[in-house]
Symmetry: C2
Subunit: 586 residues, 2 copies
Amino acid sequence: MYRTFTCGELRIAHVGQEPVLAGWVQTIRNLGAMTFIDIRDRYGITQLVADENTTIELKDKFEKLGREFVIQVKGIVRERSSKNSKIPTGEIEIDIKELTILNKAAVPPFTIQDDTDGGDELRMKFRYLDLRRETVRKNLELRAKMAHVVRNYLDDLHFIETETPVLIKSTPEGARDFVVPSRMNPNQFYALPQSPQIFKQLLMVAGFDRYYQIVKCFRDEDLRADRQPEFTQIDCEMSFVQQEDVLNMFEGLTRHMFKEIKGIDPGEFPRMTYADAMENYGNDKPDIRFDLKFKDLTTVVKGKDFKVFDDAEYIGGICVPGCGEYSRKQLDELTEFVKRPQVGAKGLIYAKVNEDGSVKSSVDKFYAPEDLSKWTQIFDAKPGDLILMLSGEKDRTLPALSILRLEMGRLAGLMDKEVFRPLWVIDFPLLEWNEEASRFHAMHHPFTAPKPEDIALLDTAPGTVRANAYDLVINGVEIGGGSVRIFDSELQAKMFKTLGFSKQDAENQFGFLMEAFKYGAPPHAGIAFGFDRLASMFAGLDSIRDVIAFPKNNSGRDVMNDSPAEIAQAQLDELCLSLVAPKQKN
Amino acid sequence: MYRTFTCGELRIAHVGQEPVLAGWVQTIRNLGAMTFIDIRDRYGITQLVADENTTIELKDKFEKLGREFVIQVKGIVRERSSKNSKIPTGEIEIDIKELTILNKAAVPPFTIQDDTDGGDELRMKFRYLDLRRETVRKNLELRAKMAHVVRNYLDDLHFIETETPVLIKSTPEGARDFVVPSRMNPNQFYALPQSPQIFKQLLMVAGFDRYYQIVKCFRDEDLRADRQPEFTQIDCEMSFVQQEDVLNMFEGLTRHMFKEIKGIDPGEFPRMTYADAMENYGNDKPDIRFDLKFKDLTTVVKGKDFKVFDDAEYIGGICVPGCGEYSRKQLDELTEFVKRPQVGAKGLIYAKVNEDGSVKSSVDKFYAPEDLSKWTQIFDAKPGDLILMLSGEKDRTLPALSILRLEMGRLAGLMDKEVFRPLWVIDFPLLEWNEEASRFHAMHHPFTAPKPEDIALLDTAPGTVRANAYDLVINGVEIGGGSVRIFDSELQAKMFKTLGFSKQDAENQFGFLMEAFKYGAPPHAGIAFGFDRLASMFAGLDSIRDVIAFPKNNSGRDVMNDSPAEIAQAQLDELCLSLVAPKQKN
């Protein structure tokens, strides 16, 4: 062992001891007679000091040192004259007696401290240096602790952690698969799992009863800030349960994590139907840290010769407390905001409630004070509040209003990162119509069970069938999702048919699952949590990248080791593959 | 919830209660007036009973039931008249009041019981049914428990569990990589990791200090019984440690697992150099549950006109206690055994020590009784012992003798599966000469540190350089292996040169690692355990397949879902790939 103590361990009680420490040079301050060196490792920072009596040999070594050199020192612990109460080792320092340079370090391309001077690109390229920064490492430590807490909780409840294969069969349903050519089976391919969905269902058929796994999943999708080609799920499945049991079980897990990791009790998780979420928040993952619920004014505001409203299928709005003082400029900016293509509204109608209760709106010439007063009643608006309204086709206006609502939440400071408001969204539609493919797609996945009372509608009005599917939403982020599964092979076959699979295709792709269901499949249901997202939320981060040790960039590249990369012709030959020149993009 | 109790939970104390159970029909016995049904789930088996007073409705349902039907029953717990002490629920039975068939089951292709009638192929195809058998499920439960014990042990010692990427850069050194074509980076490929080696070393450069991960690894190798294309490692790395620290740390982990999982204290782990292992056991992973150590007789037996020995470079043997009574036939069989191409010896010389101390050998005409007596002294052979000797070129005879030793251990009943003898094999050679490639290969991997005192030999006699590399061997199986790593970029560059990498190739493949080493790499070392092998050893199995939920066969195929499989032309097009017809095998 190169050390007898870590750099975060020594206290006043160790004074007089002769420890050996090893770590990185954080700073060197040469004050002439005295030299101070801060030595750092994962556990902390300790101050080393050499005074005027230091040997020439040691002084020579100090000359050679630079930031991030790896050193080993032996010395005597003594009490500091000027203590540093900010760090746990701040009461002591080490009087250096011996110093060994274990490894040199070139000057790092950015400073290794919390407020580094390195830009994103540079820090990604030198990720191993970025990970040295305490803020970044703490995120990874938090992630590890979360995994530990999850595993112990589920182990205690008799979930069996079971590894499922990574080299599986490609199923074109859903997102795009990454594929892996097989050398031993030429011209055939494995796929990497988008989730262990089928395997965990087979484990239920196998009688495992309770399964979980913290598992890597893969999706070959065009990437966004919060997406990575490989990501991690907490994947769970249970037998002989109904939806209510799953919600309770995993509400329990989530509450346990909040308690253990954040020291927070987030209270009972409210339930909201998908229909209510869409109607009241325009969104299937509402952020309920703040209210600003939509009010539907469609029937109220028509018939006053205001053509925009009269022609609209839907008119809805929100009431933002305390924003009644917004200036003309601020309101113009909001109008520009909602007109951006990403929001897509045609315009914004506002109404301010003055201190005296009177209302000033952008449509005063169409609406009499008593009309406007009716609006304030609907919104229960108070003096100083701001009512904002959008109108148009309902299925375009609701999402626009949702974006406006979030923007107002942000502007009004209602999105505190240390406040957590979990929510179950339930009763999702089973199917969604895909215009392009001109067929229904499974909203969750093809194994999701319809609500029993809606099964008859599969033949007559498939689009209205509700599923026993649920999402766990925290602060407007979808953290988990799952469903009760179909466990009857006939219903599963019907589902495939509804999704436009030919009997042959269903057989080719899922034949073994339907076969498995013939041998006594139990009722079962499950859920998967996005572990990266959950960790980044717990860490108070906006992106999942900083809870991933070696993330990829938006082109799916690891810029640190410059992969993916070309492979040798011999490798291609062995795999019976040849490259095709990519099409030029226009 | 479909149940109020599991099928393994009810006891005499529950008599009178009205539980609801759910599970699979294990057996149905219709005795006319009485019907007995055993209902099974993961937790156990409970006997259900219906007597002559049962309703017609229930009796009708019994008629429909078959093996593996999934049922839900409600009834009253009562004491059994004839108790079954073999199962924990054997004192009670359930008087059935209601029964619901939750799912039908086709007759399974084999019986779901410990001694099933299903062959290997069939059980692999219907793996989800094979997993229902208690013996198989117990193996997976054991594996899950082992992972749990490992994680808690390492977490307590401040190892940070860190996920490393699965989509990485292909490095042709070592075994063959599986590759993954990138759609977003056409004509470029990711590789799947053979181990997280480089990433865990980068985590040490990043100051993580202690890392572990239970992680899937991938090797595109031709498969053997104990190999799978994807397998799981317990992967660990530590900073500021020497070899001795690593051995002690992971001896501690291994001893902890034996204690927690098997209730065994395997004692201190002996250490043996690679050179001693080869000389005394002909093998770098000796099974030391039994002795049968080689004796070198080369100098002793020459010069007696026995041409076979006189011409041999090496003559060695083992002494097997208690096998002196072997018949002519048994000795002939052994001779045939060693002459098999897999063993490759030319013949077998034996000497039996009779009860009176005299010796009977197959070469009596060349050796006088006093010569043979000298042999018995060398082997410390007792009356009733059997001496077996092989001769020839040393590097062919030692391995042959090793196989003979193991065979004799097996025949003499010295390989008890419930006895565990761990061993550290240390001081492996750094390099091994590859005849085919006409260059040195890294015996462990290119990042392994040579022993400091041997570094000078890298220039003059590379083949003699010893590495700070170690294997954990248990009962003749390599369970883990690791090394102290090179942490100096110049030494690493020299190592790549010794391995025949051009500067350009080393730069292309490992440039980022050597770059990383320039910024202050700490001394570090690590180890990886073959988790599948360790689990199969703890479970008392010969193959790793039964500790893997969904294993692949020897062609790398999952016969359950018939993968790998062809993919659609559209998928190939998106990936800018085309298929090449495989070459016909001769």
